[in-house]
Amino acid sequence: MPSRPHYTVPARTAHWLMAALMLAAFPLGVYMHELPLSPLKLQLISYHKWLGVAVLLLILPRLVVRLAHTPPVPLPAPTWQQKTARATHLLLYALMIAVPVTGWLMSSAKGFPVVFLGVLPLPDLVGKNKELGELFRAAHEFLNYTLLGLVGLHVAAALKHHFIDRDRTLSRMLPVLERVR
C-alpha cells in the first residue's frame, strides 16, 4: 500500500502555525529584554507572552493530530539520519512545551501574572521569588537557544532533502512546492 503523499491538512496547518508563532516570539524575546523600560517594552513583553501562550494552546491539539494521523512513512535515508530526525522531532515537541512553560514560571516568579491577550488571566504557577525568577529566566534562555539550534538543524535537513537529495521530504509538508516545480 503506497504511503499518503502529504501530511494531512490539520498536521500541516499546526506545523506552519507553530513555526510562525515561534518565528515571531523568539526574536521578540531577544529584542525586548534589551530595551530600556518604556511603554513599547511593556507592550512587546505582553505580545511575546501571548505568543508563548498560543504555542502552549496549540501544542495539545497538535499532539492529538500527530497521534491520530500516522505521518507519511519516512523516505529512504541512512539509519543514523532516520534516528537523528526522530530524536530532533521528539525534542522539538518537548521544547514547544518546556519553553513557554519556563517563560510562564519566570513571569510568575518575577511577580508578573500572565494575562492572555490582555483578557484571560492565567494562574500564577509559583509565588513571587527573586531567586526562582532568575533561575527560570536562565532556564528559559537556555531552552530557547537549544530550540534555536534544533530548529536550525530541522530547517537545514529539510532544505538538504529538497535541494540536494531532491526528494519529497519538504514538499510533503509544503505541497505548494510541487506545483511550482
Binding site: 518604556s38 511603554p39 511593556l42 513583553i45 505582553s46 494575562v115
Partner: protein
C-alpha cells in the same frame, strides 16, 4: 409604697457596685491615637497591559486620632516617603522615581490630611480630606472600616487613584492602554488607645 428604708438602702448597696462595675467594664469610650508605626501599610495594585501588579510603600508616617465616642472628631494624617516604593520590580522601582512619575527629587513625599470623618453606620466611616502628590492637591474620599479589639483599633480602607490627575506617569507613559489610569490604593493602620501600654 411601704418599702422600708433599710430595704432601699440594701438594694442601693447591691445595685450601685453592680452598675459601677458594669460601667467600669465597658469603660469610657477610648481614643485611639498611639499608632503602631511598623504595622501601617500602604499597598497598591496597578495594571499594565491589563496585568495586575502589586506594590507598596515601605515608609509611611501615620498620625491619627480615632475618638470612639465622637468619631466625627477623629482625624488622620498620612505621609508617604515616595522613594520607599516597591512597584513590583527593580526596573520599575528606579523608573517611577524619575520626572515622568513621582519626581521624588522635587516631591519626596505624598500627604493625606483629613478634613472630616463621617460615620456610615456600624464600624464603617468615610474619611474626607486632601491628597497632595507631585505638587498637586486634590480632594479625596475613602471608606474606612475600623476593627476594635481591646485597646487596639485597626483601620482598613482604600480608594481608586486616577494617576493622571496628579501627572503620575506623564509624557510617553500617559497612554492608559499600557499603564491604566486607575490605581487601587489600600491602607492599613493600627493604633492603640492612649494610656495603655
Amino acid at each position: 409604697m411601704n418599702t422600708s428604708l433599710p430595704f432601699n438602702a440594701a438594694l442601693l448597696a447591691v445595685a450601685l457596685p453592680l452598675a459601677t462595675g458594669a460601667a467600669l467594664a465597658a469603660g469610657p469610650e477610648p481614643v485611639f491615637n498611639q499608632v503602631q508605626a511598623d504595622k501601617s501599610r500602604v499597598d497598591f495594585v496597578f495594571k499594565q497591559m491589563n496585568v495586575p501588579i502589586e506594590g507598596h510603600f515601605g515608609k509611611v508616617r501615620t498620625n491619627l486620632v480615632f475618638d470612639a465616642a465622637a468619631p466625627a472628631k477623629s482625624s488622620v494624617r498620612l505621609e508617604l516617603d515616595l522613594s520607599s516604593i516597591d512597584a513590583g520590580s527593580s526596573e520599575a522601582n528606579s523608573e517611577v522615581l524619575g520626572k515622568p512619575w513621582f519626581n521624588v527629587k522635587d516631591n519626596p513625599t505624598a500627604t493625606f490630611v483629613s478634613t472630616a470623618v463621617k460615620p456610615l453606620g456600624g464600624n464603617r466611616f468615610e474619611v474626607v480630606g486632601n491628597l497632595s502628590l507631585k505638587g498637586k492637591t486634590q480632594p479625596l474620599t475613602a471608606p474606612v472600616t475600623v476593627t476594635r479589639q481591646g485597646d487596639t483599633a485597626t483601620f482598613d480602607g482604600g480608594f481608586t487613584l486616577k494617576r493622571l490627575e496628579f501627572a503620575i506617569g506623564d509624557g510617553i507613559w500617559a497612554d492608559t492602554s499600557v499603564v491604566a489610569n486607575d490605581v487601587d490604593v489600600r491602607f492599613h493602620a493600627v493604633a492603640r488607645s492612649a494610656g495603655t501600654k
